[in-house]
């Protein structure tokens, strides 16, 4: 299933484009609404496999991935997106930091050439969320 909220306004090119993948429909809807109201262009998917098959390389300024998803975990999706789009900025958004901590532990043991993924905890106030996202995009 795919949730695409709002039509893309392609005329305004300055808008930062964000891909959001979260299997929870309400979360995908909430976050893409918040992103759009704050001047971002957001594509939201609730199915990680569909998100991957319709992925557009060199298109997004930031990819926000949930970690705990059925069929494909955020980490695997992250790895597959990196194969297509090695330089894109990716951050994880999750309600359970333990997955991320375990992931970081594994990553710190093996030398990994792929980029550093950041981590955003949910829930988070809109203001803080927007500040974090802007920080990551501008980093």
């Amino acid at each position: 299933m795919v949730v695409v909220i709002g039509a893309r306004i392609s005329m305004i090119n300055e808008k930062n484009k964000i891909l959001l993948v979260d299997n929870e429909v309400d979360i995908a809807y909430t976050l893409s609404s918040v992103l759009q109201d704050n001047g971002f262009e957001a594509d939201a998917f609730t199915d990680p496999v569909l998100a991957l098959t319709s992925y557009k390389a060199d298109f997004y300024d930031l990819i926000i991935l949930d970690i705990k998803m059925p069929v494909m975990y955020g980490f695997e999706l992250c790895r597959k997106i990196r194969e297509i789009d090695p330089k894109v900025k990716i951050c994880f958004l999750t309600a359970s930091e333990m997955f991320y901590e375990e992931y970081r532990e594994v990553r710190s043991k093996v030398s990994d050439k792929i980029g550093e993924e950041l981590f955003i905890q949910k829930p988070m106030k809109n203001e803080t969320l927007m500040r974090k996202i802007k920080e990551i995009i501008n980093s």
């Binding site: 909430t30 976050l31 609404s33 359970s96 333990m98 949910k122 829930p123 106030k125």
Partner: protein, 376 residues
């Protein structure tokens, strides 16, 4: 003589015949060892000796008999006697050691099982925290973020054209109540998860090198406080102007949580007045920084003061009494201390202090390099 299969039987047999002969013969049994299956029997009439070595893997006595000897000289009897006495003692000792070893290995096995059980429980506990974190936090996202979004949309609505000022103000107020309570629920969720982590000993620290004075000023800058409260930030200056004196190796997120918690408590109990946060370097000789947060509020109720850092101890209408308990555990897991007292000398309010060890810069220079100094 009947054919005897077991040593026990032969001993029984000999004991019976001993009684028959007047009860002056001693018969003992030496346990079979793995390498040979010999049994030694010794019959002693004080001055004369009859001794035999027997292979008890054989079925008949005639086959089993290996060596037998007879002596009637007193020194001969005594020396044989002492040799076998020692042998018997050794055998008994061996038996005791064997029993002790068996019992030890049994205990070890039990211990191992208990340990496995503990590990399993620990794993289940951690998984529970993980699932609980996910399940409790997830529904808060739409409630908190969408109500904030609706509120900001309401604020942008063109009041002039709609002409329903009062209604819009009411709607804004309602949204604010939802937001405030969503945030309160979020805070409560985080506190409960922290307490669960503390009590299951799975609170992990992500330590890094950072400047505590920078972190404190970031917290203060992000703080939204009422104009009735004056917030002062004091940092002791070192004499040699060393920029590294505020460097700590700690979990920045967790230390931020402690400072924010102490500050929000101070704000909560100080309706009007001054809050002073100080980073003190007076105790650098003990390699620690002292952070104090002093307010001029209502002070700590003497009734709860002795139990201030325990769970569920609070005098606030809206507090759960978990904040200080969590702060204490965070500070102590960094090797620091936390304490509080009401202000003396007719001053209103109270002061909280906590310590944090300064970073061993020599040690961290090796891994981080001095060029990173001062960065967050």
């Amino acid at each position: 003589m009947p054919a005897l299969n077991l040593t026990e039987d032969s001993i029984q047999y000999l004991r019976k015949s001993n009684q028959y002969h007047g009860g002056n013969i001693d018969v003992r049994y030496i346990e079979v060892t793995s390498s040979n299956k010999a049994t030694i029997l010794l019959a002693d009439r004080k001055l004369s000796l009859v001794m035999e070595l027997k292979d008890n893997s054989k079925t008949t006595f005639d086959e089993a008999i290996g060596l037998s000897t007879y002596s009637s000289s007193r020194p001969g009897v005594l020396s044989y006697f002492s040799i076998f006495e020692n042998l018997w003692i050794q055998t008994e000792l061996y038996q005791q050691v064997k029993e002790a070893r068996d019992s030890l290995s049994h205990s070890n096995k039990k211990l191992e099982e208990a340990n496995e059980q503990l590990k399993l429980q620990d794993k289940i506990q951690k998984e529970f925290v993980n699932v609980a974190a996910h399940e409790l936090r997830t529904p808060i996202v739409p409630i908190l973020n969408l109500s904030e979004l609706l509120y900001s949309r309401l604020k942008k609505r063109d009041i002039g054209r709609s002409g329903r000022l009062q209604q819009i103000q009411q709607e804004q107020q309602m949204m604010q109540v939802i937001i405030r309570n969503a945030y309160r629920l979020h805070q409560l969720t985080e506190d409960i998860l922290d307490v669960t982590k503390i009590e299951s000993k799975s609170l992990k620290l992500k330590k890094e090198l950072f400047d505590l004075s920078d972190t404190a000023s970031n917290i203060i800058n992000d703080l939204k406080i009422d104009s009735n409260i004056r917030l002062l930030y004091k940092v002791s200056q070192s004499t040699d102007n060393d920029k590294n004196i505020f460097m700590v190796y700690a979990d920045k997120g967790r230390i931020t949580q402690v400072i924010s918690n102490l500050l929000s408590n101070a704000i909560k109990f100080t309706k009007q007045g001054t809050i002073t946060i100080t980073i003190n370097t007076d105790n650098l000789d003990n390699n620690e920084l002292i952070i104090s947060i002093k307010d001029s509020g209502s002070g700590i109720d003497p009734e709860i003061l002795p139990r201030l850092f325990e769970k569920f101890v609070t005098k606030s209408d809206q507090g759960t009494g978990l904040g200080l308990y969590i702060s204490k555990n965070i500070v102590e897991s960094h090797g620091g201390r936390i304490w509080a007292q009401n202000n003396m000398l007719d001053q209103k309010g109270c002061t909280f202090w906590f310590t944090i060890p300064v970073a061993d810069l020599h040690q961290h220079n090796m891994s981080h390099g001095s060029s990173d100094r001062g960065k967050n």
